[in-house]
Symmetry: C4
Subunit: 445 residues, 4 copies
């Protein structure tokens, strides 16, 4: 039984939702209109009503077979599905399914008819339910702020349509020769009122109309105000990342200006932030990864650095676990063009991996370029073993994203892997002696 349910993420599901949406929209538009203009195209209306009723009926069957997601798990058990459906949308679906229009057509209802006809309005509820469902599904694939704006605008127009129909019902003397004209003028009055423009060329005349206008003014104008307020807010907040970044940039710039930092340095710092924005919307890797739980953080780190670490000869004999531990502890760091990463003569204490950009390996006097290293290469591995001065100067050629492995982190991780520690200690000893040899030779010459 389990495998027979419908997956809400499937294409079939999406297509069906679209069909039901169009049907509901048709119902929501025509039902109020048919109450005001009862003699509009009786045959077409009947056919369309029948189709819609069938679609709504099939939709109930569809929902009885539709899996749903809860706490990351897809529920496929039929019993749970039925239960879930009955407690949520079933009532609205069944009410919308009843073809009041068709039923009433067949019955001779004199005075009572008008009142019962209004029952058809419950079919409009279906639209609310369909929009909710679609919204839930689309929200993961679309900017939710933009989605919300679209939904708000859609409802604004629907409500304006309902108000127009009500105004037509209450005010039969609306200008216009035919139904179309009358509706146009009613819609014009509605929009003029709820946008608070209020030309005043159409005003209420009878007591009932005055009462109706009061309600529309309070609710309609409030709705419009809220809509505008909401959209204004959405526009402002649509790019939270940018706002936060601008704030941060302004903080730094205010400080630089007040402390009279030279213009050249200010420019360099601004360029750095520009780079940060273009490459990662200003978000720091460390900050983002720390928000993830340990296993996911590791998964992302592994993806980012596995390739480069594997290449390091030093780690050739290391176990998978050791390499994983190293990767999780790498520190991302950004260098601007011409920044010194390593200076010849300094005591080194870090190894570096180039994730992006290129660096130059220079002679201590910076006259000679030994090499240019780029993405996927590394340098300074000697510093993990010995405390010797750097033998070359390394300078960033452009903006570089490096990962830094400090010696103490390396040593700490190493202690958890006694076997590999022995290998490394052996290597260190060999290097140390080689070093001494070089020094001696150096002294001799």
């Amino acid at each position: 039984m389990r495998t027979m349910t419908i997956n809400p993420d499937s294409k079939f599901s999406a297509s069906w939702d679209l069909i039901v949406f169009i049907s509901s929209l048709y119902v929501a538009i025509t039902v109020p209109l048919s109450l005001v203009f009862p003699n509009l195209n009786p045959i077409i209306t009947m056919i369309a009503d029948s189709i819609v009723t069938i679609i709504f009926g099939l939709d109930i069957l569809y929902n009885l077979n539709l899996s749903f997601q809860v706490e990351g798990k897809l529920v496929k058990d039929r019993k749970l599905i039925v239960n879930h459906y009955l407690r949520h949308w079933f009532l609205i679906d069944i009410l919308a399914f009843i073809p009041f229009g068709l039923i009433l057509k067949g019955l001779p209802l004199f005075q009572l008819g008008r009142i019962i006809k209004v029952l058809r309005v419950v079919r409009v509820l279906k639209l609310i339910r369909v929009i909710k469902t679609i919204q839930g599904e689309v929200s993961q694939r679309m900017n939710p702020a933009i989605l919300r704006m679209i939904v708000l605008l859609f409802w604004f127009l629907m409500v304006a349509h309902f108000i127009s129909c009500a105004w037509l019902a209450i005010n039969p003397n609306v200008a216009g020769n035919n139904e179309g004209d009358k509706y146009l003028y009613a819609f014009y009055w509605t929009i003029t009122t709820i946008t608070t423009i209020g030309y005043g060329d159409i005003t209420p005349q009878t007591r009932g109309q005055v009462l109706f206008v009061i309600i529309i003014e309070i609710l309609g104008a409030a709705m419009y105000g809220l809509l505008i307020g909401n959209i204004a807010n959405l526009i402002v907040n649509i790019d939270v990342a940018k706002n936060q970044f601008k704030e941060r940039l302004e903080r730094v710039n205010t400080f630089l200006k007040y402390r009279r930092i030279p213009h050249k340095v200010q420019r360099k710092i601004n360029d750095y932030y520009q780079y940060l924005w273009e490459t990662r919307r200003g978000y720091e890797e460390t900050q983002v990864l720390n928000d993830l739980p340990e296993p996911l953080k590791m998964e992302v780190s592994l993806y980012l650095n596995m390739d480069i670490i594997k290449k390091v000869p030093l780690f050739k004999e290391a176990s998978k676990e050791f390499i994983r531990d190293i990767i999780v502890n790498l520190l991302p760091v950004v260098y601007s063009p011409d920044d010194y990463i390593v200076k010849a003569g300094e005591l080194g204490a870090d190894m570096f991996f180039i994730s992006k950009g290129s660096v130059q390996v220079l002679s201590p006097n910076e006259q000679m370029v030994y090499a240019t290293l780029t993405q996927g290469q590394f340098f300074g591995e000697m510093a993990l073993l010995l405390s010797v001065p750097r033998t070359a100067t390394i300078k960033a050629l452009e903006y570089c994203d490096l990962y830094r492995l400090p010696k103490d982190v390396f040593t700490q991780v190493l202690q958890r892997y006694p076997d590999f520690e022995q290998t490394i200690l052996q290597l260190t000893k060999e290097r140390e002696e080689a070093n001494k040899m070089i020094k001696k030779k150096g002294k001799k010459t």
Copy 2:
């Protein structure tokens, strides 16, 4: 004397507040109307006025016996209550109590009458006081943002009512055959103006009316604008949790997109956040608990973990204090489906308790399922005693909320309980020897 006071949280108190609210509302609606239409239902008005006066009188007695809360303590001392009442609402209550209407009815006041009649307006103040009181009491049981919206709308309608009455007073030629109609048209004008729709079908004619309209336009339209602005803001902020969560999710997603993390991992991370949202609205346990003071934090932690900890055989002989110290130091951690929690062969350093979800205990080659552990169970307790490799792989079957107890935390707590430390050390020795035996056997076979 102390026990005779009324508890403001009691049902009686709530009912009485409702009665006083209805009376005040009746007064606030009828007093301005009766000033404009003096000849409206004299007998009914008199009876209603008398009842209201009695209720307002009883309300003063009620307040003289009403306890009040301050800094977490309920003050029941009569003297303090009276003092508190006199300094707060007494003046308004006594002013609202005076039945100006009834008094004036009995006295022959010719010209002076009109002016004194206006004094009745002070009774309207009672409504402000009642709303304030109810708001204070309801605010703890209701979303304060929604409460504030309701109160704002209520006052908006009340003010519109007052403006309509004033317009009627200043403009006796308002259209309409009877009092009802006249009021309806005045109300229609008010709403049309303060919603800034301004049809212009009713405009001021005399100098006084122009002045009145200027004031209403400035204050009324401003009020409406502020109301809309406030509500728009409330809507935006009604779900702070969701906004913050969306921001956080967007930050992570932007980073993942910019660093080109594989789609599968992105999906997994989004599912994780979805789980975080569904189970705890995105709030991390550690973060929330750290906002509490030590004793409350402990109380919550104890409730969450006491049952599970008590079951651990290792802690059978531990004192209550020791267990409490352990619980407060547990670290919550979430695993996604198929995440490895423990890998066979690794050196273990944590014990785990399952708070929610289920995990599988697998053979090192993951071919055999030894067991499935669920909510309330635990694993890895050996790691607290010995530094031996894990003997089985443990994998999350679904989203799991675990609590982690790191070995160093355990050791640290242990040092504070020398007696239990001895027991544990003894146990460790036994296990170590047992382990050696197993190893030897393993080697032999």
Copy 3:
């Protein structure tokens, strides 16, 4: 020369600002009016203009003697003051000082007159300058948000006045029999337009009027919208503290609800937050003090705790510096009613000082109340010297603000004062022996 300058914080300064404000307001109101109605009260106008001119002249002298504040220092040097004044407001002051009205009265200016008369408008600039000055001074004594709202409303009304005068100038056919009526109608039209109500009973007729109305519609309505938007925002942000606190409370409550913490504990936690709000608007002492630089932080801490610390017999012989170091390191902590602060039998490691509230000292079985300690008292000082179990249970009777002094902090501070360290070590030894004696006795009995 230095002491002769005027202090901007003096009462004289405040009174003078008020006089200049009233004069400027008079000018700002009458100058545009006199341009539209040239024949209004010529004698009174002349006298008033003369007085204003004198006041404006004196104001220039006043400013040449007015000290000003910069980076926390009051500048009293005349030369600097003059320099500062010339670079800031002098130009506006001198322009406003010139009595265009009086000068023009004396001269026969035919056609040219009208144009030159408009020059009088520059006097209105004085109002801008005066408002700015007063705003700067008042801002420290008043909620800046409320001040800003008042200033915004004031300018809104002033601008409406200017627009009304301009409308009168451009549209001489405004309804109304006399100047007062005409102005009233013009003002009515202005407000109706810029609040976007737009009745449409007064509309532009000539080309110039249409152009004028377009400008007013764009600028005036925008101004009104911005005013409302700004005020709505001010209202929302007027109580930042409350908003942040509500957010925090909601975070905790959401968590408690989702983790199904018992209702009793939830209630207790909410009461705690209520207490935090009532006693300190939700702000934590540690967080606030850490925002201050070291010397100010110490000053506040000393004020809060000096009295209580001095009373401790243990610190009788300590130097002032030692006590200061202790006070700065106290940790504030809040206990709810019935919370255990100390439990008999536990190893103690903290001393406590009661800053607010009262606690009960109970026998280990909680049957007997040994004592009730309140504000200004302390307990647990033995824990600073010896690692012995607590001899009594101590329980909070109501909400208590305590300061905690952990043993390790005490020891650390002690090391910086070798002399006092000796005294304490001596004391410790004595106590230890006394303790042993008690134990022995205990065993014997």
Copy 4:
């Protein structure tokens, strides 16, 4: 080939942008007008159109040679530039370049003409592109919030212009004798409608007009509302620094008020914040620098402190690297007037450098002023070598920005430079002995 490209930051580039902007603006204004009033100044129009066409053509050539910036690098490679241009703005530029107006003039197009004429509207797109380009360039030199406000207002007026032209096209009976008058009235109607004022003196008459008005009411009024909402928000957020600072200040003040800190201390704390605001907009140096990556942080720190550190005799023989390490570890600290920085008799553990302000060196009894130190001077260097009591009291005379170098930081850095460490140890020994001598002498006398 590389050096022949145009730098987008050059003055030539800025001038050319201005020329293209003016041409686009001319096109955007005249094209819709010429559709409504076809017979307007045919000769002038033709000449202007020709010039604009030439400029638009040259602009395409210009863009084919224009370098562009990406991730901090200026791309100068012609091939990449062309590629980049083709994928971005080329299509709009080429469409705007086609002189539809001139082409159509030459051809006899009867009925078809009207429709084809509308094609000219595509030239208006050029304006969008030009504004975008200028916005991107100006955004770095201007407050982005203000820039955005200006752009919004500009587009608001442009859209109002387009709506006016459309209204003229749809409603030929607009009042007015000539083209200018007709346009004025149309613009007046547009503004009256989209500011939601809606006088109602001009209302739609035909079905087409009603439809047009409905659309304008929805879009135009929404546009206006969003514009106002956006600007209100921009105004509120224009000074993020101030808002955050006010919040912080309020937090402190609320705390001080609730804990009843003496008024004098409250005043002192407020003065401190005032100083913080005036000198650095409330931003803390540490916080700002920590947002920068290591190399940029060092560059700023070096600039701020290099001069002062070099002067210290103690560091005369130190290497450049050592001094750099010291500078990066200095801690900024602010003292208020009359704060004690160092007290005679205390054990010193910090050296201080004065970055701003002045301090007094006083005798232990504060009766004698030994010296006044100001910006660029330092004191307390002895504390880095020996643990001896301070020999003088040092007090801030005004607000002082100092940098503090704690002894332990100094020692830590020293360990990385063994050679210099020897020098310092030697010095310490000498000083110690000198100290002993002084003490002996002191005892003798």
